[in-house]
C-alpha cells in the first residue's frame, strides 16, 4: 500500500512529495532521476517522512532495520532508533570489515552484489528493509534474501518513493513480501 491511502497522512505526504526533485539524464541519458536530497534539506518534511514510517512500524516487534547503501542509510537509522531496533547496513562489496555473506543480483546490464555482516541478525528476528526508492525491486530482493539466509523474517520493505512502471511491487509480491511507500512517482523513469 502507499501512505496516501491513510487518513491524516495526506498533508504530510503532499509536502514530502513537493520537496522531491527530478534530475533528467542522470546517471545516464534518458533516465529521470528522483532526488531525495532536497527532501533532506527540509527539516519538517524529513521529520514527517521518518514519523510516517515510525508510526507504521513501532510496536510491531521489529528488532532489525536493514538499510541499503547509501541512501537507505539516510532513513533507516532514524527509524531504527525510534522503534528500538538495531540498524544493519547492507553494503556494496568489500565495504564491510570482517565476515560477510553476499547476494548477487541482476542489473539492467550485468550484476551487482550486496553484503551483510555474519552475526548481525539472529534467526527469528523480525526485519524491516529500508531504501529511498524502489524501481525494479532487484536490490530489495537481494536485501531480503540476505536477511532470510540469516534466518530473519522480513516483515515489510519500506521506501520513500516507488516507480510503479518498473514493477518492483509485483516482484516483491511474488516473494510474498509487502511494500510500503510514501510517494508514487508520476514520471516514467528510463523512458
Amino acid at each position: 500500500m502507499s501512505a496516501g491511502e491513510n487518513d491524516g497522512c495526506a498533508d504530510r505526504i503532499d509536502a514530502i512529495k513537493s520537496t522531491l526533485r527530478v534530475v533528467p539524464d542522470f546517471p545516464k541519458p534518458g533516465i529521470l532521476f528522483l532526488d531525495i536530497t532536497t527532501l533532506l534539506l527540509d527539516p519538517k518534511a524529513f521529520k514527517d517522512t521518518i514519523d510516517l514510517f515510525v508510526e507504521r512500524y513501532k510496536q510491531k516487534n521489529i528488532s532489525v532495520v536493514a538499510g541499503i547503501e547509501a541512501r537507505g542509510f539516510m532513513f533507516g537509522p532514524a527509524i531504527a532508533l525510534a522503534i528500538g531496533a538495531k540498524f544493519v547496513p547492507l553494503r556494496k562489496p568489500k565495504k564491510l570489515p570482517g565476515e560477510v555473506i553476499s547476494e548477487k543480483y541482476v542489473l539492467e546490464y550485468g550484476t551487482d552484489c550486496l553484503e551483510m555482516h555474519v552475526g548481525a541478525v539472529e534467526p527469528g528476528e523480525r526485519a524491516l528493509v529500508v531504501d529511498d526508492l524502489v524501481a525494479t525491486g532487484g536490490t530489495l530482493c537481494a536485501a531480503m534474501n540476505l536477511l532470510e539466509r540469516a534466518g530473519a523474517v522480513v516483515v515489510e520493505c519500506a521506501c520513500v518513493i516507488e516507480v510503479p512502471d518498473l514493477k518492483g511491487r509485483e516482484r516483491l509480491r511474488l516473494q510474498g513480501k509487502p511494500l510500503y511507500v510514501l510517494v508514487e512517482s508520476q514520471f516514467e523513469a528510463g523512458s
Partner: protein, 252 residues
C-alpha cells in the same frame, strides 16, 4: 581459565559471558585488548560472545570491566561512553594488512549504545543555532541524519564523485597514495549558515578538511566537526587547524 576460552581458527578468543562481571584472565589484559562485549548479564544487553583481539590499541573508558563498587561513582555520561566504546570492534588487516579497522557496525547493533551516541551529540549541539548537519559518505550518513532531525537542521550528504545528481561543487583531497574527490550539491548550503560536520571516525583528517573546504567555499561557517572515534596518533585534530573537534571515543 581454559575451560571458558575457546581459541577459534581465525585467531580470536571467545570468552564466556560470565567473565564480563569478573576480572579478565591475566593473559589477556585490558590494555592490550580492544574488546567487543557480547552476552546477557545483569540486565544489560550484550552480545553473545566476546571477540578479544590482541592489539596495541587501547580503547578508553573500559569501565564495564571495573569492579562493582567502582560503578556507583561513575556518572551517567561515563556509563554511556563506556558502553559505546565497548561496542566498537577492531578488525585487523582491513582494508589492507597492518591496518586495525575500527568497526562501528557493532555499535549500531546495540540500540541503547547507538541511541546514547546520538543523544551525546544532540545534547552538545541542540540550541546552538546550527542549521546544517553535513555527513560524509557513507558512515557519516548513519549518524548525521538522526542528529539533524533532533536539532531541527537540514542534512547535507557529502559524497564520492558522480553520486549526487545535478549541479555539484567538488574538492580534491590527498590519500596515502593518490587523491580522491568529495562533492556537495550547489544550493544545499547558504552563505552564513552554521554547520556541523559528521563522520564516524577521524584519522588523518583529510576527509574532514575536504568537507570543511567545500562548505567554506559556499560561505558557511563551521561550528565543529564531530566523530564517534578519533585516532589521535594520526593527528587529524591538528590538521583541522582552527576548527574544533569533538569525539566520543579516543583510540590509541
Amino acid at each position: 581459565m581454559m575451560n571458558t576460552l575457546r581459541y577459534l581458527s581465525s585467531g580470536i578468543f571467545v570468552i564466556s559471558p560470565k567473565l564480563l562481571t569478573s576480572s579478565l584472565p591475566t593473559s589477556v589484559k585490558p590494555s592490550s585488548i580492544s574488546a567487543l562485549a557480547r552476552g546477557e548479564t545483569a540486565g544489560r544487553r550484550f552480545y553473545s560472545t566476546i571477540a578479544a583481539v590482541r592489539t596495541d590499541l587501547k580503547v578508553k573508558c573500559f569501565s564495564n570491566m571495573a569492579a562493582p563498587d567502582h560503578k556507583k561513582n561513575v556518572d551517567v555520561k561515563d556509563d554511556r561512553i563506556s558502553r559505546i566504546s565497548s561496542s566498537i570492534r577492531v578488525i585487523p588487516d582491513f582494508p589492507k594488512p597492518g591496518i586495525m579497522f575500527q568497526d562501528i557496525t557493532t555499535l549500531l547493533l546495540d540500540p541503547v549504545a547507538f541511541k546514547d551516541s546520538i543523544d551525546l551529540f544532540i545534547e552538545r549541539y541542540k540550541g546552538k543555532d546550527i542549521s546544517v548537519v553535513a555527513g560524509v559518505e557513507a558512515r557519516g550518513f548513519i549518524f548525521g541524519p538522526p542528529i539533524a532531525l533532533a536539532i531541527g537542521a537540514k542534512f547535507v550528504p557529502m559524497r564520492k564523485p558522480n553520486k549526487l545528481p545535478g549541479a555539484v561543487i567538488s574538492e580534491e583531497y590527498s590519500l596515502e597514495y593518490g587523491t580522491d574527490i568529495m562533492e556537495m550539491h550547489v544550493g544545499a548550503v547558504q552563505a552564513g549558515e552554521r554547520v556541523l560536520v559528521i563522520d564516524d571516525l577521524i584519522a588523518t583528517g583529510g576527509t574532514l578538511v575536504a568537507a570543511i573546504k567545500l562548505l567554506e567555499r559556499v560561505g558557511a561557517s563551521i561550528v565543529e566537526c564531530a566523530c564517534v572515534i578519533e585516532l589521535p596518533d594520526l593527528k587529524g585534530r591538528d590538521r583541522l587547524g582552527d576548527k574544533p573537534l569533538f569525539v566520543l571515543v579516543s583510540s590509541t
